[in-house]
Symmetry: C2
Subunit: 269 residues, 2 copies
Amino acid sequence: MKKIFILSDGTGQSGIDVLRAALVQFHDSPVTFTIHSRVETRERVKELLIDAKKKDAFVAFTFVKKDIRDYVHQYCLRHHIVHFDILGPIIRILSSYLGVAPLEKAALLRKVDERYFRRIEAIEFSIVHDDGKSIERLDAADIIIVGLSRTSKTPTSFFLAQQGYKVVNIPITPPLALPDALFETDQGKIVCLQMEPEVLQKVRLARLHHAHTSDNTYTNLKRIYEEAEHVEELLRKHRQWKVVNTTNKSVEETSREIIDFVIGKDVVI
Amino acid sequence: MKKIFILSDGTGQSGIDVLRAALVQFHDSPVTFTIHSRVETRERVKELLIDAKKKDAFVAFTFVKKDIRDYVHQYCLRHHIVHFDILGPIIRILSSYLGVAPLEKAALLRKVDERYFRRIEAIEFSIVHDDGKSIERLDAADIIIVGLSRTSKTPTSFFLAQQGYKVVNIPITPPLALPDALFETDQGKIVCLQMEPEVLQKVRLARLHHAHTSDNTYTNLKRIYEEAEHVEELLRKHRQWKVVNTTNKSVEETSREIIDFVIGKDVVI
Protein backbone atom coordinates (compact mmCIF):
# COMPACT_ATOMS: atom_id res chain seq x y z
CA MET A 1 0.00 0.00 0.00
CA LYS A 2 1.27 3.47 -0.91
CA LYS A 3 1.96 5.68 2.08
CA ILE A 4 1.85 9.45 2.35
CA PHE A 5 3.62 11.20 5.20
CA ILE A 6 2.64 14.74 6.06
CA LEU A 7 5.35 16.54 8.00
CA SER A 8 4.70 19.91 9.57
CA ASP A 9 5.95 22.36 12.17
CA GLY A 10 2.28 23.29 12.69
CA THR A 11 -0.77 21.05 12.48
CA GLY A 12 -0.24 19.86 8.92
CA GLN A 13 -3.82 20.89 8.19
CA SER A 14 -3.05 22.69 4.93
CA GLY A 15 -1.16 19.60 3.80
CA ILE A 16 -4.21 17.48 4.59
CA ASP A 17 -6.52 19.92 2.77
CA VAL A 18 -4.47 20.02 -0.41
CA LEU A 19 -3.78 16.30 -0.51
CA ARG A 20 -7.45 15.56 -0.03
CA ALA A 21 -8.35 17.81 -2.95
CA ALA A 22 -5.63 16.34 -5.16
CA LEU A 23 -6.31 12.72 -4.23
CA VAL A 24 -9.95 12.72 -5.34
CA GLN A 25 -8.45 12.87 -8.83
CA PHE A 26 -7.06 9.37 -8.22
CA HIS A 27 -9.98 7.96 -6.30
CA ASP A 28 -9.27 4.29 -6.74
CA SER A 29 -5.78 4.47 -5.35
CA PRO A 30 -5.67 3.20 -1.79
CA VAL A 31 -3.29 5.28 0.25
CA THR A 32 -2.58 5.51 3.97
CA PHE A 33 -1.73 8.77 5.67
CA THR A 34 0.55 9.48 8.55
CA ILE A 35 0.46 12.97 9.99
CA HIS A 36 3.48 14.22 11.90
CA SER A 37 2.65 17.61 13.36
CA ARG A 38 4.81 20.00 15.41
CA VAL A 39 8.02 18.61 13.99
CA GLU A 40 10.45 21.28 15.07
CA THR A 41 14.02 20.03 14.90
CA ARG A 42 16.26 18.76 12.10
CA GLU A 43 16.94 15.63 14.15
CA ARG A 44 13.24 14.79 14.24
CA VAL A 45 12.86 15.61 10.54
CA LYS A 46 15.74 13.26 9.75
CA GLU A 47 14.25 10.39 11.80
CA LEU A 48 10.97 10.74 9.94
CA LEU A 49 12.64 10.93 6.53
CA ILE A 50 14.60 7.77 7.29
CA ASP A 51 11.29 6.09 8.11
CA ALA A 52 9.70 7.49 4.93
CA LYS A 53 12.57 6.15 2.82
CA LYS A 54 12.22 2.71 4.39
CA LYS A 55 8.48 2.66 3.61
CA ASP A 56 8.87 4.19 0.15
CA ALA A 57 6.47 6.92 1.28
CA PHE A 58 5.63 10.15 -0.45
CA VAL A 59 6.57 13.09 1.79
CA ALA A 60 4.43 16.22 1.67
CA PHE A 61 5.47 18.97 4.05
CA THR A 62 4.28 22.30 5.39
CA PHE A 63 7.17 23.98 7.17
CA VAL A 64 7.05 27.73 7.54
CA LYS A 65 10.79 27.99 8.23
CA LYS A 66 12.76 28.17 5.04
CA ASP A 67 15.86 26.46 6.42
CA ILE A 68 13.83 23.38 7.41
CA ARG A 69 12.15 23.31 3.99
CA ASP A 70 15.53 23.46 2.31
CA TYR A 71 16.85 20.73 4.58
CA VAL A 72 13.93 18.40 3.74
CA HIS A 73 14.31 19.12 0.04
CA GLN A 74 18.06 18.43 0.04
CA TYR A 75 17.73 15.29 2.14
CA CYS A 76 14.96 13.91 -0.08
CA LEU A 77 16.89 14.67 -3.26
CA ARG A 78 19.97 12.94 -1.91
CA HIS A 79 18.01 9.88 -0.78
CA HIS A 80 15.56 9.71 -3.67
CA ILE A 81 12.43 10.30 -1.63
CA VAL A 82 9.44 11.65 -3.57
CA HIS A 83 8.56 14.89 -1.82
CA PHE A 84 6.42 17.97 -2.17
CA ASP A 85 6.67 21.36 -0.52
CA ILE A 86 3.12 22.67 0.02
CA LEU A 87 3.65 26.06 1.63
CA GLY A 88 7.13 27.08 0.45
CA PRO A 89 6.30 28.14 -3.11
CA ILE A 90 3.16 30.07 -2.19
CA ILE A 91 4.89 31.83 0.72
CA ARG A 92 7.73 32.80 -1.61
CA ILE A 93 5.47 34.25 -4.27
CA LEU A 94 3.17 35.98 -1.76
CA SER A 95 6.22 37.57 -0.17
CA SER A 96 7.27 39.01 -3.48
CA TYR A 97 3.72 40.13 -4.38
CA LEU A 98 3.09 41.76 -0.97
CA GLY A 99 6.62 43.16 -0.69
CA VAL A 100 6.91 41.82 2.87
CA ALA A 101 9.22 39.16 4.30
CA PRO A 102 7.48 36.14 5.85
CA LEU A 103 7.53 35.85 9.64
CA GLU A 104 8.56 32.17 9.48
CA LYS A 105 6.79 31.47 12.76
CA ALA A 106 5.04 28.16 13.24
CA ALA A 107 1.63 27.98 14.88
CA LEU A 108 0.67 31.49 13.90
CA LEU A 109 -2.96 30.56 13.56
CA ARG A 110 -5.07 33.29 15.03
CA LYS A 111 -5.50 32.62 18.68
CA VAL A 112 -7.65 34.64 21.02
CA ASP A 113 -8.51 37.37 18.54
CA GLU A 114 -11.63 38.71 16.90
CA ARG A 115 -11.64 35.99 14.29
CA TYR A 116 -11.42 33.28 16.95
CA PHE A 117 -14.41 34.68 18.82
CA ARG A 118 -16.41 35.18 15.66
CA ARG A 119 -15.90 31.54 14.78
CA ILE A 120 -16.79 30.27 18.26
CA GLU A 121 -19.85 32.48 18.38
CA ALA A 122 -20.91 31.27 14.95
CA ILE A 123 -20.55 27.63 15.99
CA GLU A 124 -22.47 28.10 19.23
CA PHE A 125 -25.16 30.12 17.48
CA SER A 126 -25.55 27.44 14.84
CA ILE A 127 -25.83 24.66 17.43
CA VAL A 128 -28.64 26.48 19.21
CA HIS A 129 -30.38 27.19 15.92
CA ASP A 130 -29.91 23.79 14.30
CA ASP A 131 -32.88 21.90 12.89
CA GLY A 132 -35.44 24.51 13.91
CA LYS A 133 -34.65 24.01 17.61
CA SER A 134 -34.72 27.76 18.11
CA ILE A 135 -35.83 30.53 15.82
CA GLU A 136 -35.02 33.27 18.27
CA ARG A 137 -32.54 35.82 17.00
CA LEU A 138 -33.31 35.15 13.34
CA ASP A 139 -32.22 38.72 12.70
CA ALA A 140 -28.76 37.97 14.10
CA ALA A 141 -28.23 35.16 11.60
CA ASP A 142 -25.98 35.71 8.59
CA ILE A 143 -27.65 32.91 6.68
CA ILE A 144 -30.98 31.09 7.09
CA ILE A 145 -31.29 27.66 5.53
CA VAL A 146 -34.60 25.92 4.93
CA GLY A 147 -35.24 22.58 3.29
CA LEU A 148 -36.78 19.13 3.54
CA SER A 149 -35.32 16.54 5.88
CA ARG A 150 -31.94 15.17 4.64
CA THR A 151 -31.23 17.83 2.06
CA SER A 152 -27.94 18.56 3.88
CA LYS A 153 -29.01 21.44 6.12
CA THR A 154 -27.08 20.47 9.25
CA PRO A 155 -23.68 19.61 7.74
CA THR A 156 -23.88 22.67 5.52
CA SER A 157 -24.72 24.89 8.50
CA PHE A 158 -21.73 23.62 10.42
CA PHE A 159 -19.36 23.97 7.53
CA LEU A 160 -20.51 27.60 7.22
CA ALA A 161 -20.26 28.14 10.98
CA GLN A 162 -16.64 26.94 10.96
CA GLN A 163 -16.03 29.81 8.59
CA GLY A 164 -17.57 32.32 10.95
CA TYR A 165 -21.12 32.60 9.59
CA LYS A 166 -24.03 32.40 12.00
CA VAL A 167 -26.57 30.01 10.54
CA VAL A 168 -30.15 29.15 11.42
CA ASN A 169 -31.53 26.07 9.77
CA ILE A 170 -35.22 25.24 9.75
CA PRO A 171 -36.72 22.03 8.41
CA ILE A 172 -39.64 22.10 6.00
CA THR A 173 -41.99 19.37 7.22
CA PRO A 174 -45.26 19.47 5.30
CA PRO A 175 -48.09 19.81 6.12
CA LEU A 176 -46.70 21.92 8.99
CA ALA A 177 -46.29 25.60 8.19
CA LEU A 178 -42.95 27.37 8.56
CA PRO A 179 -42.76 29.79 11.51
CA ASP A 180 -44.17 33.27 10.91
CA ALA A 181 -40.94 34.90 12.07
CA LEU A 182 -39.18 33.51 9.02
CA PHE A 183 -41.32 35.64 6.72
CA GLU A 184 -40.72 38.76 8.77
CA THR A 185 -36.93 38.71 8.69
CA ASP A 186 -34.62 39.82 5.84
CA GLN A 187 -35.67 37.50 2.98
CA GLY A 188 -32.35 38.07 1.20
CA LYS A 189 -30.53 35.75 3.55
CA ILE A 190 -32.87 32.78 3.15
CA VAL A 191 -31.58 29.85 1.14
CA CYS A 192 -33.72 26.83 0.32
CA LEU A 193 -31.91 23.54 -0.28
CA GLN A 194 -33.51 21.25 -2.82
CA MET A 195 -32.63 17.74 -3.88
CA GLU A 196 -34.00 15.55 -6.66
CA PRO A 197 -36.62 13.24 -5.11
CA GLU A 198 -34.93 10.04 -6.28
CA VAL A 199 -31.60 11.10 -4.79
CA LEU A 200 -33.28 12.33 -1.61
CA GLN A 201 -34.91 8.93 -1.26
CA LYS A 202 -31.50 7.28 -1.62
CA VAL A 203 -30.03 9.57 1.04
CA ARG A 204 -32.91 8.90 3.41
CA LEU A 205 -32.69 5.14 2.87
CA ALA A 206 -28.96 5.19 3.53
CA ARG A 207 -29.59 7.32 6.58
CA LEU A 208 -32.12 4.88 7.97
CA HIS A 209 -29.64 2.11 7.37
CA HIS A 210 -27.01 4.05 9.32
CA ALA A 211 -29.41 4.97 12.09
CA HIS A 212 -30.62 1.36 12.32
CA THR A 213 -34.26 2.39 12.32
CA SER A 214 -37.04 2.19 9.77
CA ASP A 215 -39.75 4.58 8.71
CA ASN A 216 -41.50 3.70 5.50
CA THR A 217 -43.36 6.93 4.93
CA TYR A 218 -40.15 8.92 5.27
CA THR A 219 -38.57 7.11 2.33
CA ASN A 220 -41.72 6.57 0.27
CA LEU A 221 -41.08 8.13 -3.14
CA LYS A 222 -44.68 9.26 -3.61
CA ARG A 223 -44.55 11.10 -0.31
CA ILE A 224 -41.17 12.65 -1.20
CA TYR A 225 -42.70 13.94 -4.45
CA GLU A 226 -45.49 15.54 -2.43
CA GLU A 227 -42.99 17.15 -0.10
CA ALA A 228 -41.00 18.45 -3.10
CA GLU A 229 -44.18 19.89 -4.61
CA HIS A 230 -44.87 21.67 -1.33
CA VAL A 231 -41.39 23.22 -1.50
CA GLU A 232 -41.95 24.30 -5.11
CA GLU A 233 -45.09 26.07 -4.02
CA LEU A 234 -43.24 27.85 -1.22
CA LEU A 235 -40.61 28.98 -3.71
CA ARG A 236 -43.24 30.31 -6.09
CA LYS A 237 -44.60 32.43 -3.25
CA HIS A 238 -41.20 33.61 -1.98
CA ARG A 239 -39.21 34.57 -5.01
CA GLN A 240 -36.58 36.42 -3.00
CA TRP A 241 -35.29 33.17 -1.52
CA LYS A 242 -32.17 31.76 -3.05
CA VAL A 243 -32.31 28.13 -4.14
CA VAL A 244 -29.39 25.74 -4.04
CA ASN A 245 -29.77 22.31 -5.58
CA THR A 246 -27.80 19.92 -3.39
CA THR A 247 -28.31 16.85 -5.56
CA ASN A 248 -24.98 15.02 -5.68
CA LYS A 249 -23.21 18.06 -4.32
CA SER A 250 -20.64 18.05 -1.56
CA VAL A 251 -21.17 20.09 1.57
CA GLU A 252 -18.27 22.29 0.45
CA GLU A 253 -19.92 23.02 -2.91
CA THR A 254 -23.29 23.78 -1.36
CA SER A 255 -21.64 26.09 1.18
CA ARG A 256 -19.69 27.92 -1.49
CA GLU A 257 -22.86 28.55 -3.52
CA ILE A 258 -24.62 29.85 -0.41
CA ILE A 259 -21.74 32.21 0.42
CA ASP A 260 -21.69 33.44 -3.19
CA PHE A 261 -25.44 34.12 -3.04
CA VAL A 262 -25.81 35.64 0.40
CA ILE A 263 -22.42 37.12 1.25
CA GLY A 264 -20.95 37.66 -2.20
CA LYS A 265 -17.67 36.75 -3.87
CA ASP A 266 -15.53 39.12 -1.79
CA VAL A 267 -14.92 37.51 1.57
CA VAL A 268 -12.64 37.44 4.58
CA ILE A 269 -10.76 34.15 4.69
CA MET B 1 -5.36 47.39 -1.07
CA LYS B 2 -3.84 44.20 -2.45
CA LYS B 3 -6.34 41.80 -3.92
CA ILE B 4 -6.22 38.03 -4.22
CA PHE B 5 -8.46 36.23 -6.69
CA ILE B 6 -9.08 32.55 -6.22
CA LEU B 7 -10.25 30.89 -9.42
CA SER B 8 -11.52 27.34 -9.41
CA ASP B 9 -13.54 24.82 -11.38
CA GLY B 10 -14.65 23.44 -8.00
CA THR B 11 -15.27 25.33 -4.77
CA GLY B 12 -11.83 26.90 -4.46
CA GLN B 13 -11.70 25.54 -0.93
CA SER B 14 -8.18 24.15 -1.19
CA GLY B 15 -7.05 27.52 -2.50
CA ILE B 16 -8.65 29.19 0.51
CA ASP B 17 -7.06 26.69 2.90
CA VAL B 18 -3.56 27.11 1.53
CA LEU B 19 -3.74 30.88 1.24
CA ARG B 20 -5.00 31.15 4.78
CA ALA B 21 -2.06 29.08 6.04
CA ALA B 22 0.45 31.06 3.96
CA LEU B 23 -0.99 34.48 4.78
CA VAL B 24 -0.61 34.18 8.55
CA GLN B 25 3.09 34.51 7.77
CA PHE B 26 2.36 38.08 6.63
CA HIS B 27 -0.23 38.96 9.20
CA ASP B 28 -0.06 42.71 8.94
CA SER B 29 -0.73 42.82 5.25
CA PRO B 30 -4.32 43.76 4.52
CA VAL B 31 -5.62 41.78 1.59
CA THR B 32 -9.08 41.29 0.14
CA PHE B 33 -10.21 38.01 -1.34
CA THR B 34 -12.50 37.29 -4.22
CA ILE B 35 -13.52 33.69 -4.72
CA HIS B 36 -14.66 32.62 -8.17
CA SER B 37 -15.86 29.05 -7.95
CA ARG B 38 -17.18 26.74 -10.69
CA VAL B 39 -15.34 28.59 -13.43
CA GLU B 40 -15.65 26.12 -16.24
CA THR B 41 -14.93 27.77 -19.59
CA ARG B 42 -11.91 29.54 -21.09
CA GLU B 43 -14.14 32.51 -21.88
CA ARG B 44 -15.03 32.93 -18.20
CA VAL B 45 -11.40 32.43 -17.18
CA LYS B 46 -10.36 35.14 -19.61
CA GLU B 47 -12.95 37.63 -18.31
CA LEU B 48 -11.73 37.08 -14.76
CA LEU B 49 -8.07 37.40 -15.72
CA ILE B 50 -8.77 40.69 -17.50
CA ASP B 51 -10.40 41.91 -14.28
CA ALA B 52 -7.45 40.63 -12.21
CA LYS B 53 -4.98 42.46 -14.46
CA LYS B 54 -6.97 45.69 -14.12
CA LYS B 55 -6.93 45.39 -10.32
CA ASP B 56 -3.30 44.24 -10.13
CA ALA B 57 -4.58 41.17 -8.27
CA PHE B 58 -2.69 38.02 -7.40
CA VAL B 59 -4.36 35.02 -9.05
CA ALA B 60 -4.29 31.69 -7.22
CA PHE B 61 -6.10 28.86 -8.96
CA THR B 62 -7.27 25.31 -8.39
CA PHE B 63 -8.27 23.82 -11.71
CA VAL B 64 -8.22 20.06 -12.03
CA LYS B 65 -8.15 20.16 -15.82
CA LYS B 66 -4.62 20.49 -17.12
CA ASP B 67 -5.57 22.42 -20.28
CA ILE B 68 -7.28 25.13 -18.20
CA ARG B 69 -4.28 25.33 -15.86
CA ASP B 70 -1.99 25.72 -18.85
CA TYR B 71 -4.24 28.36 -20.34
CA VAL B 72 -4.24 30.42 -17.12
CA HIS B 73 -0.49 30.09 -16.80
CA GLN B 74 0.15 31.19 -20.40
CA TYR B 75 -2.31 34.07 -20.21
CA CYS B 76 -0.83 35.33 -16.93
CA LEU B 77 2.73 35.09 -18.23
CA ARG B 78 1.81 37.02 -21.36
CA HIS B 79 -0.01 39.73 -19.38
CA HIS B 80 2.33 39.88 -16.40
CA ILE B 81 -0.20 38.75 -13.81
CA VAL B 82 1.27 37.27 -10.62
CA HIS B 83 -0.25 33.81 -10.41
CA PHE B 84 0.04 30.54 -8.55
CA ASP B 85 -1.15 27.05 -9.44
CA ILE B 86 -2.20 25.32 -6.21
CA LEU B 87 -3.30 21.88 -7.36
CA GLY B 88 -1.37 21.36 -10.61
CA PRO B 89 2.05 20.55 -9.18
CA ILE B 90 0.78 18.19 -6.47
CA ILE B 91 -1.52 16.38 -8.92
CA ARG B 92 1.40 15.96 -11.30
CA ILE B 93 3.72 14.52 -8.69
CA LEU B 94 1.03 12.31 -7.11
CA SER B 95 0.24 10.94 -10.56
CA SER B 96 3.82 9.94 -11.03
CA TYR B 97 4.13 8.51 -7.50
CA LEU B 98 0.89 6.51 -7.72
CA GLY B 99 1.43 5.51 -11.35
CA VAL B 100 -2.13 6.53 -12.23
CA ALA B 101 -3.37 9.30 -14.54
CA PRO B 102 -5.56 11.94 -12.87
CA LEU B 103 -9.26 11.88 -13.68
CA GLU B 104 -9.33 15.65 -14.30
CA LYS B 105 -12.94 15.84 -13.17
CA ALA B 106 -14.09 18.87 -11.23
CA ALA B 107 -16.37 18.51 -8.22
CA LEU B 108 -15.22 15.02 -7.42
CA LEU B 109 -15.65 15.56 -3.72
CA ARG B 110 -17.17 12.52 -2.16
CA LYS B 111 -20.89 12.76 -2.42
CA VAL B 112 -23.35 10.31 -1.00
CA ASP B 113 -20.79 7.75 0.09
CA GLU B 114 -19.62 6.21 3.34
CA ARG B 115 -17.40 9.15 4.13
CA TYR B 116 -20.26 11.61 3.63
CA PHE B 117 -22.50 9.71 6.02
CA ARG B 118 -19.75 9.26 8.57
CA ARG B 119 -19.20 13.00 8.62
CA ILE B 120 -22.90 13.85 8.89
CA GLU B 121 -23.36 11.28 11.63
CA ALA B 122 -20.37 12.69 13.49
CA ILE B 123 -21.73 16.24 13.26
CA GLU B 124 -25.19 15.24 14.42
CA PHE B 125 -23.79 13.10 17.22
CA SER B 126 -21.59 15.96 18.39
CA ILE B 127 -24.49 18.44 18.38
CA VAL B 128 -26.57 16.15 20.59
CA HIS B 129 -23.61 15.56 22.91
CA ASP B 130 -22.32 19.12 23.08
CA ASP B 131 -21.74 20.77 26.44
CA GLY B 132 -22.94 17.83 28.51
CA LYS B 133 -26.44 18.06 27.01
CA SER B 134 -26.53 14.29 26.64
CA ILE B 135 -24.17 11.64 27.93
CA GLU B 136 -26.10 8.79 26.39
CA ARG B 137 -24.10 6.66 23.97
CA LEU B 138 -20.75 7.58 25.53
CA ASP B 139 -19.52 4.22 24.26
CA ALA B 140 -20.30 5.24 20.68
CA ALA B 141 -18.07 8.32 20.93
CA ASP B 142 -14.66 8.31 19.31
CA ILE B 143 -13.43 11.06 21.59
CA ILE B 144 -14.68 12.43 24.92
CA ILE B 145 -13.60 15.94 25.85
CA VAL B 146 -13.86 17.34 29.37
CA GLY B 147 -12.75 20.73 30.64
CA LEU B 148 -13.69 23.93 32.41
CA SER B 149 -15.99 26.44 30.76
CA ARG B 150 -14.29 28.29 27.85
CA THR B 151 -11.34 25.99 27.42
CA SER B 152 -12.39 25.49 23.77
CA LYS B 153 -14.45 22.30 24.09
CA THR B 154 -17.23 23.20 21.65
CA PRO B 155 -15.21 24.57 18.73
CA THR B 156 -12.74 21.73 19.10
CA SER B 157 -15.55 19.15 19.10
CA PHE B 158 -16.98 20.58 15.90
CA PHE B 159 -13.66 20.78 14.14
CA LEU B 160 -13.18 17.09 15.00
CA ALA B 161 -16.74 16.23 13.95
CA GLN B 162 -16.15 17.83 10.52
CA GLN B 163 -13.40 15.28 10.13
CA GLY B 164 -15.70 12.40 10.94
CA TYR B 165 -15.04 11.85 14.65
CA LYS B 166 -17.97 11.48 17.02
CA VAL B 167 -17.31 13.69 20.01
CA VAL B 168 -18.95 14.05 23.41
CA ASN B 169 -17.96 17.10 25.38
CA ILE B 170 -18.74 17.49 29.05
CA PRO B 171 -18.10 20.62 31.10
CA ILE B 172 -16.31 20.43 34.42
CA THR B 173 -18.26 22.76 36.72
CA PRO B 174 -17.01 22.47 40.30
CA PRO B 175 -18.32 21.73 42.83
CA LEU B 176 -20.61 19.52 40.73
CA ALA B 177 -19.32 16.00 40.13
CA LEU B 178 -18.83 14.60 36.64
CA PRO B 179 -21.39 11.96 35.62
CA ASP B 180 -20.68 8.40 36.80
CA ALA B 181 -21.00 7.06 33.25
CA LEU B 182 -17.84 8.93 32.28
CA PHE B 183 -15.78 6.78 34.63
CA GLU B 184 -17.32 3.58 33.34
CA THR B 185 -16.50 4.07 29.66
CA ASP B 186 -13.15 3.51 27.89
CA GLN B 187 -10.84 5.94 29.71
CA GLY B 188 -8.40 5.92 26.79
CA LYS B 189 -10.62 8.21 24.75
CA ILE B 190 -11.01 10.92 27.39
CA VAL B 191 -9.14 14.15 26.82
CA CYS B 192 -9.08 16.97 29.36
CA LEU B 193 -8.54 20.48 28.03
CA GLN B 194 -6.62 22.80 30.33
CA MET B 195 -5.83 26.47 29.99
CA GLU B 196 -3.65 28.75 32.12
CA PRO B 197 -5.93 30.58 34.57
CA GLU B 198 -4.83 34.06 33.45
CA VAL B 199 -5.53 33.25 29.80
CA LEU B 200 -8.79 31.54 30.68
CA GLN B 201 -9.85 34.69 32.52
CA LYS B 202 -9.03 36.73 29.42
CA VAL B 203 -11.08 34.41 27.22
CA ARG B 204 -14.02 34.51 29.63
CA LEU B 205 -13.88 38.30 29.86
CA ALA B 206 -13.80 38.62 26.09
CA ARG B 207 -16.64 36.14 25.87
CA LEU B 208 -18.78 38.14 28.29
CA HIS B 209 -18.03 41.21 26.25
CA HIS B 210 -19.19 39.42 23.09
CA ALA B 211 -22.24 37.94 24.76
CA HIS B 212 -23.16 41.34 26.23
CA THR B 213 -23.73 39.88 29.67
CA SER B 214 -21.84 40.04 32.94
CA ASP B 215 -21.05 37.47 35.61
CA ASN B 216 -18.36 38.46 38.04
CA THR B 217 -17.76 35.10 39.67
CA TYR B 218 -17.24 33.48 36.28
CA THR B 219 -14.27 35.73 35.52
CA ASN B 220 -12.92 36.09 39.07
CA LEU B 221 -9.31 34.96 38.99
CA LYS B 222 -9.39 33.45 42.47
CA ARG B 223 -12.36 31.34 41.52
CA ILE B 224 -10.69 30.28 38.27
CA TYR B 225 -7.66 29.12 40.30
CA GLU B 226 -9.97 27.02 42.46
CA GLU B 227 -11.57 25.52 39.38
CA ALA B 228 -8.14 24.76 37.95
CA GLU B 229 -7.09 23.08 41.21
CA HIS B 230 -10.23 20.94 41.04
CA VAL B 231 -9.20 19.83 37.54
CA GLU B 232 -5.65 19.04 38.73
CA GLU B 233 -7.12 16.82 41.39
CA LEU B 234 -9.31 15.01 38.86
CA LEU B 235 -6.25 14.43 36.69
CA ARG B 236 -4.29 13.02 39.63
CA LYS B 237 -7.08 10.50 40.15
CA HIS B 238 -7.52 9.63 36.48
CA ARG B 239 -4.07 9.19 35.05
CA GLN B 240 -5.32 7.48 31.90
CA TRP B 241 -6.87 10.69 30.67
CA LYS B 242 -4.93 12.61 28.07
CA VAL B 243 -4.32 16.26 28.78
CA VAL B 244 -4.13 18.96 26.12
CA ASN B 245 -3.10 22.44 27.12
CA THR B 246 -5.12 24.83 24.97
CA THR B 247 -3.46 28.03 26.21
CA ASN B 248 -2.90 30.21 23.15
CA LYS B 249 -3.53 27.28 20.88
CA SER B 250 -5.73 27.34 17.81
CA VAL B 251 -8.65 24.96 17.50
CA GLU B 252 -6.76 23.22 14.69
CA GLU B 253 -3.72 22.62 16.89
CA THR B 254 -5.79 21.34 19.80
CA SER B 255 -7.68 19.01 17.47
CA ARG B 256 -4.50 17.69 15.93
CA GLU B 257 -3.07 16.86 19.37
CA ILE B 258 -6.28 15.10 20.35
CA ILE B 259 -6.28 13.03 17.15
CA ASP B 260 -2.61 12.15 17.72
CA PHE B 261 -3.39 11.03 21.26
CA VAL B 262 -6.65 9.16 20.80
CA ILE B 263 -6.65 8.01 17.18
CA GLY B 264 -2.94 7.98 16.37
CA LYS B 265 -0.81 9.40 13.58
CA ASP B 266 -2.17 7.09 10.86
CA VAL B 267 -5.52 8.46 9.74
CA VAL B 268 -8.02 8.50 6.91
CA ILE B 269 -8.12 11.95 5.36
